[in-house]
Amino acid sequence: MRGKLVSYTIVYVPPLPFRSIYAVGIVRDERNELHAVRIDSEHIPVLREQMEGEIVKMKTDFGEMEYFVPAFEKKEVKRVVLITGAGRGIGKATAIEFAKKGFNVIINDIELPDEGQEALNIIKELGQEAVFIKADVSKYDEVEKMVKEVIEKFGRIDVLVNNAGINIDRLLINMTPEQWQKVIDIDLTGVFNCTRAVIPYMISQGGGRIINVSSQSAFDGNIGQANYAAAKGGIISFTKVVAREYAQYNILCNAIAPGAIKTRLTEAIPPGQLKERIMRIPLGRRAEPEEVAKVIVFLATDATYITGEVIKVNAGEYL
């Protein structure tokens, strides 16, 4: 049965047994009768008074309910992804994969290298909007400014990929406090800064996805990476907290832990050591950045029932 939405509100504090936000509204049907209806949170961004839609009865875990499903075409809503450290490597590949899925893409980095420019061009050729925003993720004011810029330009942020990271590897005994702090600031505090800045917008738009790029180093105690491993391990704990805190707002937060990927990080490994490492990988090769990017895109799109999880993308190197 078709109907028009007379008014609606969003229930940001759901009562038990409901756990995550949703909208409720009053709908007038074709026979001029009024219905109290529930509206899924995925429709919150497009809701407006007098919009048309279908009134449908749905069976849920909490009994049968009348739902209002707005009659709009999904393509009307262009989803937006912000990827930090997307100038090259996994970030760049992820940006292109998202564009293939129809997302508008914001590439963030501290500079735009040729590879980043190439990604911008590819995304535009794919018919999506792509912009570069320069910001240092370790500085909250820069992050806040970047997020505001995204909202001003696109009006929403559906997905945040916390990918920015550096490594300064050396044995602990040779590591200066500055080297420790710099990695922590970018790799861990950067994740906090970006997540903190986007959460209010995701709450108000009815949900979102956050994917944090951790590392196999979080698990395997890789010698020379005390700072990097601490940051990447911290990301995993952070991911679990965010998942629990914001599930009620339909914000899903997951992490991936890549192994040996063809990026600057593994290119820097001396050839002999790299070969040795590859021999330890059951699949016997490094991954292309695109193979990681596809997992990130999966978590941001089709993975509707996963949160607080860490997916190892390492071909069995560490199980």
Binding site: T9, L16, A36
Partner: protein
């Protein structure tokens, strides 16, 4: 005669997070109420005790009437509990008055309480949604959401703004700073309200009454002058209903039940709204306060916000409303609320409200106490 029924004594706890359990609250309320009677009263003169509280899950109690009866100390008295969601307190008084009018009682002790702070916010929200009709509850329409739908209709029809609604929070918080019983003693600004967390648009956290513990009790007598030289008379009471579901109401932006109750109460008291000097209204969510003004006849439909914009209902205004701080800032221990509102008017008419005593002369005061989202309402007219 209705005009002879009066309040002769009261007891009132602080509202907020209290360490006392329900049993202690009842015991304290009954004892204090009996002890506060100026000329004294023998418990044997109290024939009935009526208890008001809303949910067993809050108070962890059944047979509150029996418990209160035990505290009273009159084996011949009888006790029972009433419930009408947020208007339970007023319903207890309404019943007491009807019993005295029907000559079924001479003196009735009415005690209301709620102990809400034991539960988490999510559980409190779930318990409170029991005050909504099953068809709304089933799809998850909470009390804030239902009030939000009413507020949206009001904004759409009458062009009320976020700033207008914020003014009610600002006023009520300011008033509460003078009330030692109030849960909050801090002022808020329009910006504070507009920046507070969204609960169900347009309702924000600083539009909402808090989760409160508290107790309020009054002693009502058919022969009040026997017990005090300064009784406050219950001149009129009315009760009304509207559709249980907001969406089934003829006008979701109007409190029809409160209008019915007010008309009945005014008629019984033989007054008109212009004679009212002071009022306490049910601002469980402040977005409803202008609707209360309109239902009580203080303003025309759609013009409730004008009264706050022009300062009419502020502490120094021509018609002060919610000088106690209202439910918003004084607190809202549901079963106690209506009785607590009456105590505020009782004190204001007696000139005993201390720091929060309004400057103007107060002869007639009104209490509007609605339940659910306005599906039931009780209005009381008090005067000297």
């Amino acid at each position: 005669m209705p005009s002879e029924i009066g309040i002769i004594s009261y007891a009132h706890s602080k509202y907020g997070v209290l360490k006392e359990d329900t049993e202690e609250l009842i015991k304290n309320g009954v004892n204090e109420c009996l002890n506060n009677v100026e000329k004294g009263i023998d418990p044997k003169e109290v024939d009935w005790i009526i208890v008001s509280f809303v949910d067993n899950q809050f108070s962890n109690l059944h047979q509150a009437g029996t418990l209160a009866w035990e505290c009273l100390g009159n084996p011949d008295a009888k006790g029972f509990r009433v419930e009408a969601a947020c208007s339970s307190g007023s319903l207890a008084v309404y019943m007491a008055r009807k019993m005295i009018l029907a000559d079924l009682a001479k003196n009735v002790l009415v005690i209301g309480f709620e102990k809400m702070s034991n539960l988490s916010t999510e559980t409190v929200t779930m318990v409170l949604s029991r005050g909504s009709p099953p068809e709304e509850r089933k799809i998850g329409i909470t009390q804030p959401a239902a009030y939000a739908l009413m507020a949206q209709e009001y904004m759409r029809k009458y062009k009320a703004t976020e700033d207008d609604f914020a003014l009610f929070s600002v006023k009520n918080h300011k008033n509460a700073t003078k009330n030692p019983w109030a849960q909050f003693h801090r002022e808020v600004t329009i910006e504070d309200v507009k920046n507070s967390r969204v609960i169900a648009p347009p309702i924000r956290l600083l539009h909402c009454s808090p989760i409160s513990d508290g107790m309020a009790a009054i002693l009502i007598s058919g022969t009040p002058r026997k017990y005090t030289d300064t009784p406050i008379y219950i001149k009129g009471m009315g009760m009304g209903h509207d559709a249980f579901s907001v969406y089934k109401r003829e006008d979701p932006a109007f409190l029809k039940a409160s209008k019915i109750a007010a008309d009945e109460a005014y008629k019984e008291a033989d007054i008109n709204p212009k004679q009212v000097d002071i009022a306490e209204v049910h601002d469980a969510f402040v977005t409803v306060e202008p609707m209360c003004y309109e239902a009580l006849g203080f303003a025309n439909k759609g013009e409730g916000c004008k009264l706050i914009r022009e300062g009419v209902t502020t502490f120094d205004g021509q018609l002060p409303v919610n000088v106690s701080g209202g439910l918003k800032a004084k607190g809202h221990p549901i079963g106690a609320t209506g009785i607590g509102m009456m105590i505020e008017i009782f004190l204001q008419i007696r000139g005993q409200a201390r720091e929060r005593q309004v400057k103007k002369n107060v002869d007639i005061g009104v209490v509007e106490n609605h339940g659910g989202t306005g599906s039931v309402s009780i209005v009381t007219v008090l005067s000297r």
